[in-house]
């Protein structure tokens, strides 16, 4: 993302969408193109004017198969982001501000 703000939402029937996370400048939005089954799990909703660079996932995957250096580099970078998001999700699940 170059600028703006995007909310990652989960849609549940008969409920208002729940915003799980927001992303902003410099963030990567979406990695489902990289790993099977290549299916989006969340909705992305621009909550401000947003500028982003979109890449053709299928084309990029083909290039990664052809050039393993590119594939390894991309996977390393995405793995780091995935780990950060996993840690943030675990922290979020702890619900630390709730009255216990």
């Amino acid at each position: 993302m170059r600028s703006g703000k995007v909310a990652l939402e989960v849609f549940a029937p008969q409920h208002k969408p729940i915003v799980l996370e927001t992303l902003g400048e410099g963030d990567i939005l979406g990695w489902s193109w990289l790993l099977p089954p290549y299916i989006w799990k969340l909705h992305a909703h621009a909550v401000e004017d947003t500028a982003a660079i979109a890449l053709d996932g299928k084309c990029l995957r083909t290039k990664c198969e052809q050039n393993h250096d590119l594939g390894y580099e991309l996977l390393k970078r995405f793995a780091q982001i995935i780990v950060q998001r996993l840690e943030a999700t675990r922290f979020q699940l702890l619900d630390v501000y709730a009255v216990k």
């Binding site: 969408p17 729940i18 915003v19 902003g24 943030a88 979020q92 630390v96 501000y97």
Partner: protein, 282 residues
């Protein structure tokens, strides 16, 4: 000897203060402004210190001071209702009396922070003990570098001091980043845990002092994040919370390893306390 004079000599003797103002912050959190009796100097405090508030007939609670240290004649406390005593405290009306002992404990390192950028990381009600630091920095603006406030709450309705957060964000050399763990679709701000907004903070680790207040688990995540960003352990401070009773280090209720939180804390350097944070038994 007047009761006020006696209370100044005896830290165990509560002094009646009058509730002068009650401000609703969130559905379960209120801010009480108390006026000390005439002829007392007990409204002076260091940012980070706490008092023991006595609701007559109910009990006594340790509550951090959340007001402006530059404002004399008033002590301000932000209280969240989590049980019988806190519920009684926030039910107090203007004009009623509350017993106050203190202030007690160590304060935030405001002197050591002079000339540095100040990073404040707050979670939930943890913004209350840090608010005096914000007042102090604005009261002495030339003595400090940039002020960065990172604040996380459970949901938009749980955010404290919303108007002040917006006004602080408009001040020069100040960055305020607010996030909530769960946001509804009407919330246009950031959603994610407090560590997720560090990437938007313009940090200069080598010239910064960080102060953290919030649930202990949150503080552990935050210290790790600050270290990842290059802050040294000696430049990170935390406010700890335990079951304070006497507040002067007699009773041992708040013992934390070799420390008493009431007397040696509640503010500790992370370098001092880090080994204890990893202990299951504590």
């Amino acid at each position: 000897m007047t009761m006020a004079a006696a209370a100044q000599l005896d830290p165990m003797l509560p002094q009646p203060h009058v509730v002068r103002q009650v401000t609703k912050e969130t559905p379960d959190t209120l801010t009480l402004a108390l006026e000390p009796p005439p002829g007392t100097d007990r409204n002076r405090f260091l940012p980070g210190q706490f008092s023991m508030l006595w609701v007559f007939g109910v009990g006594e609670l340790p509550i951090s001071i959340s007001g402006d240290p530059g404002e004399h004649g008033r002590l301000t406390y932000t209280v969240r209702s989590v049980g019988q005593a806190t519920n009684a405290l926030i039910s107090e009306k203007v004009g009623s009396n509350i017993g106050v002992r203190g202030p007690f404990g160590t304060g935030w390192p405001i002197e050591a922070s002079r000339g540095h950028d100040v990073i404040l990381v707050a979670g939930g009600i943890g913004l209350a003990p840090l608010r005096p630091v914000i007042y102090h920095v604005f009261n002495n603006r030339k003595d400090y570098g940039r002020l960065i406030v990172l604040y996380g709450a459970r949901s938009p309705r749980d955010l404290l001091y919303r108007k002040q957060l917006a006004s602080w964000a408009r001040q020069p050399d100040t960055q305020v980043l607010v996030t909530v763990d769960y946001g509804g679709i009407s919330w246009r701000g950031h959603v994610g845990v407090v560590t997720s907004v560090f990437k938007y903070a313009r940090l200069q680790p080598s010239r910064s002092i960080a102060m953290i207040c919030g649930p202990e688990i949150m503080m552990r995540f935050v210290t790790r994040e600050l270290e990842t960003h290059g802050l040294k352990r000696e430049d990170i401070y935390l406010s700890m919370e335990r079951n304070m009773k006497c507040a002067v280090g007699f009773c041992g209720h708040c013992q934390y390893g070799p420390h008493f939180i009431c007397k040696d804390g509640p503010v500790f350097s992370y370098a001092t306390i880090q080994p204890l944070l990893e202990k299951y038994e504590l």
